[in-house]
């Protein structure tokens, strides 16, 4: 049994999983939620290397990938899910060397990150919710759906705080907060950004009394009277897209509430160590996603320079995917399907993007160690609980070496 295993099934990165292996398969991942159990699965992954659909040696696979990338006029390096930060660091290095465009799974939350770049953000690591928040406001999200253990692990107060804490569900149309909330506030989707603005005005002491916002104003007053409010919103697109205006309005409200009381805002993020990709790109280039090395030094091109946009514009003529192709968002996967792609990562050989080169590796956190980031940027170690195919880090390093020194 391997204990203290970190799960990358969602951004909660629960690190209390105990994995039991029997006959080279995962028999049990205790403490894991249903999403986590599905993420661990039985731990059996393919271990193939394919070039043009046919089995090949590792050397041939790396050689072909290098050939594809060096021959491209406008390559893309895309960092998908289920790889460690150590692998992500190598992926960015390859992008730098190739003068490629680099993007990652972290770009799913681009709207919210950009809002944060304009204003900053008042936030906290997740443990502060259960430690300090006497008012928790779930803004149009029930974490139970996509972040099953979030409430149990991070948002359940104990002791005296547990007795006084109140939970508010803000229902924005069909995007509803948790069913068992103490209080519900309904806001029409078309009113949402305005309602947040009115709440902020209330916090600033300006009286806004339009009847349609009465419940929002009341919520703002409750937040002002709390000691410490935690606002939890979804950072990932889902039933509704990320609205940059909403993201920015929530940030501004959260910051303003630190006048009368304390308030922190949390954006829920999905799994696969996407937060690690954001952190690594930021420290290596200064930008969190949509980085373009075409001119040499990194340029930030959110929007027009995202993988999705570059692929849709047919600007990219070859791509390297590092990570599990199954985690790639639909629009990016559609674009990749139209160009030659090399994939290095978990279950690469089963990829729907029909790669020219597919090199299967282990899954970070199941077959391979390293580092991953929780949704709140807390770094956690990964543990291998099962023997897997070749390590992603070894393959990516070999490719980088081939690209840098291949001509020698």
């Amino acid at each position: 049994m391997t204990e203290h295993v970190t799960c990358l099934g969602c951004g909660c990165a629960c690190d209390d999983i105990a994995v039991v292996v029997k006959r080279s398969r995962i028999a049990e991942a205790s403490n894991a939620c249903t999403l986590g159990a599905a993420w661990f699965g039985d731990g059996v992954v393919p271990a193939e290397i394919r070039v043009d659909g046919r089995a090949a040696t590792l050397e041939r696979g790396i050689g072909k990938a290098a050939e594809l990338l060096t021959g491209a006029a406008r390559p893309l390096v895309y960092i998908a899910g289920d790889v460690s930060c150590e692998v992500q660091r190598e992926a960015v290095a390859i992008g730098d060397h190739l003068h490629a465009a680099v993007d990652s799974l972290a770009a799913t939350a681009a709207g919210a990150v950009l809002a944060g770049q304009r204003r900053g953000r008042a936030t906290a690591t997740l443990g502060e919710i259960r430690e300090h928040a006497d008012l928790v406001v779930f803004w149009g999200v029930d974490p139970g759906e996509r972040y099953p253990r979030f409430v149990a692990r991070y948002a359940t107060a104990r002791g005296d705080l547990g007795k006084t804490r109140r939970v508010v569900a803000v229902d924005v149309g069909a995007s509803r907060g948790p069913k068992d909330a103490d209080v519900r506030v309904a806001i029409a989707p078309s009113d949402e950004v305005d309602a947040i603005g009115v709440m902020r005005a209330t916090v600033a002491g300006r009286d806004a009394s339009a009847a349609q916002f009465a419940s929002a104003v009341d919520l703002a007053r409750q937040m002002m009277q709390a000691r410490y409010t935690a606002i939890v919103a979804d950072g990932e697109p889902g039933a509704r897209a990320i609205d940059p205006d909403r993201a920015e309005a929530l940030i501004a409200l959260g910051q303003a509430l630190n006048g009368p009381a304390r308030c922190t805002l949390y954006a829920l993020r999905a799994g696969g160590n996407r937060s690690g990709a954001d952190a690594v790109l930021t420290w290596q280039t200064g930008f969190p996603f949509a980085v373009d090395f075409a001119g040499g030094p990194p340029r930030y091109r959110p929007g027009a320079g995202s993988a999705e946009a570059l692929l849709a514009d047919h600007e990219i003529d070859a791509a390297l995917v590092i990570g599990a192709p199954a985690t790639i968002p639909g629009p990016v996967a559609d674009g990749l399907d139209r160009i030659p792609v090399a994939v290095i990562g978990p279950r690469a050989s089963t990829s729907a993007v029909r790669p020219v080169v597919a090199i299967d590796t282990g899954v970070a956190g199941i077959h391979e160690g390293g580092t991953a980031f929780r949704m709140d940027d807390v770094p956690l170690p990964l543990r291998a609980s099962l023997e897997g195919p070749r390590a992603a880090l070894d393959v990516v390093r070999a490719l980088r070496d081939k690209l840098v020194h291949g001509a020698r």
Binding site: E3, A122, A124, E131, H132, R262, T285
Partner: protein, 548 residues
Amino acid sequence: MSNPERLRISGGAVYDPANGIDGAVRDVCIEGDRIVAELPRDAPRLDAAGMIVMPGGVDIHSHVAGPSVNQARRLLPEEHAADPVPAPRLEDGTLARTGTGGTVPSTFATGYRYAGLGYTTAMEAAVAPLGARHAHAELDDTPILDAGFFVLLGNDDYLLRQIAAGETARARDYAAWLLGVTRAYAIKIVNPGGVSLWKSGGDPGRRNVTGLDDAVGSSAVTPRKILETLCAAANQLALPHPVHVHCNNLGQPGNSATTLESMKTLGGQRAHFTHLQFHSYGGERGKPWQSAARNVIEYVNAHPETSADVGQVMFGPATTVTADSPVEYLLATTAGGGRKWVNVDIELESGCGIVPYTYKEQAAVAALQWAVGLELFLLSTDPWRVVLSTDHPNGGTFLSYPELIRLLMDRSYRDECLKLVNQKLLAGSALLDGLSREYTLGEIAIVTRAGPARLLGLRNKGHLGPGADADVTIYASDGDRSKMFATPRYVFKAGTLVVEEGQLRRAPAGRRLAVSPQYDTAVTKDLRRFFDAHATVSFDNYGAEPVP
């Protein structure tokens, strides 16, 4: 030039204050990664005649890596876009990594730019234990520099509980354990108790401490008790660097009283007080600020156990990034507000606040801060204990060090600059009264290398005696000291020629500086219970050590 295994740097004027050498012309011999006393006559030579030879620079306090720094990077895309760093072409023909600059550069650019100034060692000054693994990963991507970090203590729940219970021995064991598991170099205290109150929420009037005897939760826990406990722990553990203290009330008018009281509380024990400039103001809350540099530096001058770095403010863009989150809230919301502001409460441990900020000559407070820093430098009687920093990137970036050196070495230049700043708050300041002192090259070598190395307990750094690390910076002498210090002719790191004529030639990985003190392991049993009850990270996953 090539990079021979042995090299005699001959004919330069050597400034090696740790070995009593103050500009004498003599040879410096490198063998491998060390300085040696002598080399055979036929060893390769580098002719340094007419040049100035110093040990590599050592930055005692800088924010270059870890979660807070990366939050700051993410907040500043426009700065990065305006300052692209192309890939340097190295000696072997390969391209090094690209990056971006601004006040908070990317990791690779940080390494290149420090080396470009002749600095070869830097200490990251504030890493929350929870972020230690992240900080190490960034330092792994920061080339050339030998680096370590100070781990944040003094607002963490476990420590405050031990203080409340009078368990000072356990507090010491905990500190030792934490230093080891996070692979840190020293203990950093930031606004002791104040950050803990800020995180607890509630009444805006009680979200920070104001004095050393304010209660933090329990009446048994005060900033004074926190300082005493951790200072004693660091000294009992015989750490190479004592507690590194960022006092309460940073940036507040009248805070010099708190600073002096903190120093007196730790009187007779080794303690380092960081970015002293930000803690040396007179006046009082709600009244105009004034300089209290004279009072503060007089105390430091008279107490050999006390050391400091200045935290000079330099005019121009900066980014304030600190664990002192209540201060950043004030900065974000005063003077009209509207600035970008990041706050991160770090569970059970610490905080983080970030506000980009520009110091302007015409702003009265910025001019006062600039003057206070210079006063501390110029009134200090012992350069070994009052060393150079800008608290990068808080008071200005490390790229402003050459300009700061010129201000210290060139009185006429300094006086010209003084004329251009807002003097509204400078009445009674020593700077305005006229300070004639000019730092010598030997004193600059102390405050930028020999002094910080000695204060950090880095025995192989900051000097050029046999056995020292072969970190050597060679400058072409220039009357304009700013120009001279901005562009060294040669920089050697561990015997490797890394910079030549302003060009990066090699970018080797730096080494990590960390301690691993002994402690009674009984504390880990209690910690395990504490983690089970309060932490969201498993005890076994905590820290920065590799896991099996």
